[in-house]
Each structure stands twice: as C-alpha cells, then as structure tokens.
C-alpha cells in the first residue's frame, strides 16, 4: 500500500531504467534478447507470416524445398515453414505457463519450507521426495486421470511435475536468505510469513531461480511433446515443435534434415533464454571481469 502511494515520487521512470539496463547488457545478452523478441514477433504475427494454414494439406508428402514451400512439406503434405511458425505460437505459451506454474507452486512452497522450517519443512520435503520418487509414467497417468487431457490439464500436470524440482532448489537457496539478519528483523517486527516471503526472501533469490528457469523451460518444452503419447494436451492438427521432431524423426535415419528444423527452433530458443539468464545471473554474482 505504502509502495503504491509513494512510487509516484520515484525519480527514475521504468523505461529509463530498462534502457540503461540494456546499455549495460553484454553483447551476448543483447543477442539473446533480440532472438527472444524475434520469436515474440513470430508468435504474435504468425497468421500473417505463415504462407499456409497450420493444418491445411497443400501438397504431396515430403515435397522438397522450393520457392513455394520454403522448407518443403511434412509426411501429410503440410507446409513445414508454416507449421514451424504456428508451432511457436502453440508451444511457447504452454511451456511458459507450465514453467511459471511450476515456479509459482514449487517456489512458494520451497520458500515456506525454508522460512517456517521445522516439521512443515520436513513434511513438505518428504512429500516432494515422494512425488519425485514415483515413476513419471504412473504420476502422469494418475494426474491425467484426475485432470483429464485438455490443454489446461497439460499445463497443470507439467506444472505439478516440475514444481518438485523447483521446490528443492528454492528451498535450498531460500534457506541461505532466511538466516539473514533482515529476515530476523522482519520476524522481530511481527511480520506475517507471507510478507516475509514476498518482500524479504523472494527479491533476494530471483537470480538462481532465473538460472533454473532457463533450463526448466527447455525441459518442459520437451516434456510437452513427450507426454503427447499419453494423449495429453495439444490436440492434432495443432503444430508443436517437439511433436514435429517426433513426427518426422525417422527421416534423420536416412540423413534428411527436416526434423532438424524444429529441433533447431527449440535449441535457438533455449540458447537465447539462457543467454539472457546468464546476463541476469552474472549481474547478481558480483563479478564483472
């Protein structure tokens, strides 16, 4: 409340800070940002950028690269270039949401465990141990049964699955912050746990969380499509990169590069995300050389 009231009096407007932040950015971080914005652009303008529809069958199967079909067609005769573009739109959103969900659940509980400690921590930690120890397949099938197979369910399931990993990390780093004097000061003041977590702990553990985010994002990306055999989530003919790799994977056996295209799309995104993440974590590590 106080903050909202007084923010107006802050001297530096946000855009200024962003700009000065950008000016400080290392070239690799900038490169990462440029790539991310390119992806964003593609996602927003997919229908205008794609020459053909996402599901429309436009030619013979596996048509070669040509002026009309820049990257050829897939096994059903759909334009690969167009599907690549639409796939960005379909998967990035889901992955992002699932990753965020994982970080919200895992992060929140991890911080609670670290701050409250004692038996709450024990119970949560053992619970997470358990969830991680239950084989993925059974876990996924069980969640599938509970939540169904919609996109929402997919996001929920991925979020729950990955939240366990995020929990462990968050708990570990939050533990280090929870023993700081300023947290003790907040306790002495009589602050509620929520406030302590939100205002005292969270701002201080963002950078390791960011680093983890960069990798988790990629893991979830791949999980999205590897869970599709369970009938989860994205419904055909919706394109997603993981599925595109999967659908065309056999081709690589014969040395054809088609499946490399969606794989490269994922790889470039992962690298870009991590370049940006590197920039953030490096900023937080206190090193500049």
């Amino acid at each position: 409340m106080m903050m909202t009231k007084t923010h107006s009096s802050e001297k530096v407007p946000l855009w200024r800070k962003v700009l000065s932040g950008l000016a400080e950015a290392p070239p690799t971080g900038l490169l990462g940002l440029v790539v991310l914005f390119t992806y964003l652009f593609v996602i927003v303008f997919a229908p205008w950028l794609a020459p053909f529809g996402e599901a429309t069958i436009v030619a013979d199967a596996f048509a070669p690269w040509s002026a009309e079909h820049l990257l050829g067609t897939d096994s059903l005769g759909r334009d690969i270039y167009s599907r690549l573009i639409y796939a960005a739109r379909n998967t990035v959103g889901i992955t992002l949401m699932a990753t965020l969900l994982a970080f919200v659940i895992g992060g929140a509980l991890g911080m609670v465990a670290a701050v409250v400690g004692g038996w709450v921590d024990q119970v949560l930690s053992r619970l997470v141990d358990m969830l991680m120890a239950i084989p993925l397949l059974i876990f996924a099938l069980l969640l599938l049964m509970i939540f169904g197979s919609s996109v929402t369910a997919l996001i929920l399931i991925l979020g729950c699955l990955e939240a366990t990993r995020v929990f462990r990390l968050t708990r570990a780093v939050a533990m280090n912050v929870a023993v700081m004097d300023y947290v003790e000061a907040a306790r002495l003041r009589g602050e509620k746990m929520l406030w302590i977590i939100r205002r005292e702990i969270l701002p201080n553990i963002l950078s390791p969380l960011f680093a983890e985010f960069g990798l988790r994002f990629c893991f979830i990306f791949l999980l999205v499509s590897s869970l599709s055999f369970l009938g989860l989530g994205l419904q055909p003919p919706t394109a997603d990169w993981g599925a595109m790799v999967r659908e065309n994977a056999m081709l690589i056996t014969f040395g054809r590069v088609t499946p490399l295209l969606p794989a490269a799309a994922i790889a470039i995104l992962t690298i870009a995300v991590n370049l940006v993440v590197d920039w953030f974590t490096h900023k937080a590590s206190g090193l500049s050389k």
Binding site: M250, T253, F254
Partner: protein, 489 residues
C-alpha cells in the same frame, strides 16, 4: 513381394525383428496378443488346420474333417505318427485338453469367445476328435486355425500352457519376454519342405527406426511394420526388398448408432460421403493399402460381395446432412496412435475432407494407455481397426450381431440378425453367398462404420532371404514366416 525362389536352402540363423514384443509376453497361447508371440507360436506349435498363402483352409495336424451329420457336429481325423518335442505322440486327448484350456466357466483365454459355440468335445479312438456345437456352423473348421488354438500335449487331461512344447518345426530354446525368443530346428519335424532355418531369433524391437537401422546394418534379416512415412527412402537400399502384402486388415471410424447424432442414418451416410478414401490410402498408408467400402469383408473372404465403391462427395454429404435436418455439423472424433500407426493422421486428414462438406470434425487424441477400455465402445465416435477373421460369419458375429461382444456401433438390425443365423446353418454355397452379400450391403448402407481403407502388411527383408507367395490372412506370412521362409543359396 519378390519372385519366389525355386530352390529353398536349409540352414542359417534367421533373425527377425518384430514390433510388438512386450515384457509381459507369455508362452500360453491363450494369452497371445500380437505378432511377436503369434510368430513364435506358429514356429513351435501346429494347429488343426492351416490357411495357405492362397487363402485356402487345409489340414495341418488334422488329416481331414467333416460335418457329421449336420454342421452342428464336426469330426476331425488326426495325422498319425506325429510326436511332440518332448517325445509324446500326438493323440486326440491332446486336442481335447487343448480346446478345454480355452473353454469353460473358468477359462482365462482370449479365445473364449471363439470356442464358445462348442457344446462339448469327445474323442473317437486315439486319432479322432468330435466337436459338438451349440448351433450349426458351416464355417467351424476355420476357427481351429486361429492362432490361440495351438495344440499342446496333455498329461492327465490337462495341458501345461507355459511349457512351450508343441509339434512345430522349431523347438523353443529360450523366451525372454520383451527381448527375444530363440528357437532351433526340430530335427524330427513331420512336414517336409518346411522349417528351413537351423535357428530363428525373434527380436522384440518396438521402435520403427531401431528396426530399420538393425535391418540396414545387417543385425536382423527381416522386420515387420515398415515405417510408411519413410518407406520410399528405405526402398532405395539395394540390399533390401520390401514386401507389400495386400490384406484385409481394416481401419475404421465407429459411430454409436444409438447416440445422437449418429442415430440418424442420414448423418451416417453424410459422414461416409465426407471422406476421401483414396487420400487416406495415399497420405496415411502411402499407397500401401486398398480402399475399403464401409464394411469389413474384403476380397480375400470366400463370401466377398463386390459392392459399388462409395466415393468422396461433399455435395452428397451435404445433401444427407440436410435430410437429417442439419446445415452444418460439429462432432467429436476420438482417436489415438494406440489404434494403429497413423490413426491420428488419418483423423486429421478426414477432418480436412469433411470440412468441405460443412462438417466440423473435432479430433480428440485420447490417452494411448487405456484406449480400448475407456474410449473404444465408450465414446460416440472413435477409431478402431480389425485384423481379418477367417470367415464373414466370424467377423459379423463378433462385430455386428446384436449380442456381439464388440458391437462397437451398437447396431441393432433385425434383418441382418436373422440373415446371420440363417446363413450359419445354410450348407448351400450359392444361397449362403446371397445372404452374405445382403448382409454386407446392409452394413455398407446402414451400419455405423466409416471404413476408409484396408491396410497392407508391409515388411522388409534382406535380399538374402527367400520365400514363396506370402499369405495375406495375417502379418508376416500368416505368422508362419519361421516355417515358410529360407535363406537363398
């Protein structure tokens, strides 16, 4: 397929990569479920009857059989001088025990439904078995060729289904479920000109790419289920031959004829006209298949009726839709790659076709795990497939009769049911043909199947492997690849 070689050669270690092996595979023929154990089964066991590559039913362990006196009672005469791998001579009691393994209250056999029509079995001397049926059935001998009905030796009137002992051309050396089965040639095999290899390994290779690579790098000699997406690339390998075996394995979309909107035959007809069957064959099967005609009986069946092929016709589809009172229609179609490879693709293509007729097909990919329990026969419209049955009666009884176990369209057609019963007891071939033709027309015009295609069995082998005409009744030469194939000299 390649041209049959004139000179089969004995010997060699044949390594066969098969797609559907599982760690839960069991030697018990009552539990054979897929091509892997079926192929092993046909290597180590014999059956009463055998379907030839030409599709003819001949005796295997049975020398002959005849209805005595009507089609409700069948007497099978066994060949003499055949011994099991353990040295026990084959006798009628073994056959009785084998069949009883599948029959009865306590039966746990997947073939229980098939042997249900048998009222009782008795022996007449050591080499004659008599089956008393609950109702007349002219096609009964065919079911004794079913892959579950492997003849096993009996002790005290019971068989040991897990012993793996048969009368077949190969003796089981080891079975490691989900990994491999190894058999060696039965030196005392009673058939001549069969079982050429010294040793056969059946390798469970689930992944199509893994099978393909194994074949290309010479780690296996033959494989089933070639990946159709890349079959054209595989064809370029000069050392390999691709066997395209026409079959009556059918892929279909099953509508619940009691559920809205499919309870209106006009809607069913609209959907049947809204699919471009040739496009499915071309794009999903890559040409390795034939058009189907919305009913299961294909050209290989004795009682096949050559009905006019239904065409893709969006206008007609619209017409039927209007007749049913719809301007446009939106329906859910449940599918999964558990149905067959490319099932989801087929649904997606169908969706494109139907869109031109104003029908919006909403493809729902369901979990592969539990598809057959939760989706098939439970959702109003789902995808399924079926391998061919020996006879039209067999197929109709299992899928279209009012009380059929797998009446996946919930179809209740009085005329059809009457005809089905009558045809069973009818011994006159001409009349039977008429009756079956009418039944096929009924399914074609009023049934709940949208059946776009019969798929071919596409397998591959190195050029070093030889074989005769390949049977079409089941995959991998009627599952008898170990018995029928050989290495070229």
């Amino acid at each position: 397929g390649s041209t049959p070689s004139p000179s089969p050669k004995r010997g060699g270690h044949f390594r066969l990569g098969l797609s559907r092996g599982s760690t839960t595979d069991s030697l018990d023929p009552a539990r054979f479920s897929d091509v892997f154990m079926q192929s092993v089964g046909f290597a180590i066991y014999n059956y009463l009857t055998e379907v030839t590559p030409e599709g003819e039913l001949i005796g295997e362990l049975a020398e002959s059989w005849e209805p005595a006196p009507d089609a409700a009672r069948w007497a099978f005469k066994l060949r003499k001088g055949i011994t099991f791998h353990n040295g026990k001579p084959l006798e009628a009691a073994d056959v009785v025990a084998t069949f009883n393994h599948h029959r009865g209250e306590k039966s746990q056999s997947a073939a229980k439904g098939i042997v249900d029509p048998i009222e009782s079995i008795e022996t007449d001397g050591t080499h004659t078995v008599i089956f008393n049926l609950k109702a007349a059935n002219a096609d009964f001998p065919a079911i004794t060729s079913d892959y579950h009905m492997a003849i096993m030796p009996a002790t005290d009137g019971k068989v040991d289904p897990n012993a793996g002992i048969g009368t077949g051309g190969y003796i089981l050396e080891k079975l490691e479920p989900g990994v491999e089965a190894v058999v060696t040639r039965n030196p005392d095999y009673w058939k001549s000109g069969r079982a050429w290899f010294d040793k056969v390994s059946f390798l469970a290779i689930t992944d199509a790419a893994a099978r393909t690579n194994a074949l290309r790098t010479g780690q296996i000699d033959a494989m089933d289920r070639v990946d159709l997406k890349t079959v054209n690339l595989l064809k370029m390998d000069p050392n390999l031959s691709i066997n395209n075996v026409d079959s009556d394995q059918i892929y279909y979309f099953a509508m619940d004829t009691q559920a809205k909107p499919f309870n209106d035959n006009n809607v069913r007809l609209a959907l049947k006209h809204a699919i471009d069957r040739q496009d499915i064959v071309d794009r999903v099967l890559k040409g390795y298949g034939r058009l189907a005609n919305d009913q299961p009986i294909g050209a290989s069946y004795l009682n096949y009726a050559d009905l006019p092929q239904r065409q893709y016709d969006p206008d007609k589809a619209r017409h039927y839709l209007k007749k049913a009172g719809y301007n446009s229609l939106s329906v859910d179609l449940s599918t999964s790659d558990a149905v067959f490879t490319g099932a989801v693709d087929a649904a997606v293509i169908y969706r494109e076709h139907a869109a031109k007729a104003g029908i919006d097909i909403n493809v729902k990919r369901e979990p592969a795990d539990g598809y057959w329990e939760n989706v098939w026969m439970k959702r109003p419209w789902s995808m399924s497939y079926s391998s061919p049955r020996g006879t039209a009666d067999w197929f109709f009884s299992q899928f279209f009769a009012e009380d059929a176990n797998w009446n996946d369209t919930n179809w209740q057609n009085e005329r059809f049911n009457t005809l089905l019963k009558a045809a069973r007891a009818e011994l006159d071939a001409g009349k039977r043909q008429e009756m079956y033709a009418e039944m096929q027309a009924l399914v074609h015009n009023q049934g709940g199947w949208v059946a776009p295609a019969f798929s071919a069995y596409v397998s591959a082998a190195t050029k070093a492997v030889g074989h005769g005409k390949i049977a079409t009744n089941r995959d991998m030469d009627g599952n008898r690849i170990a018995e029928r194939w050989w290495f070229e000299g």
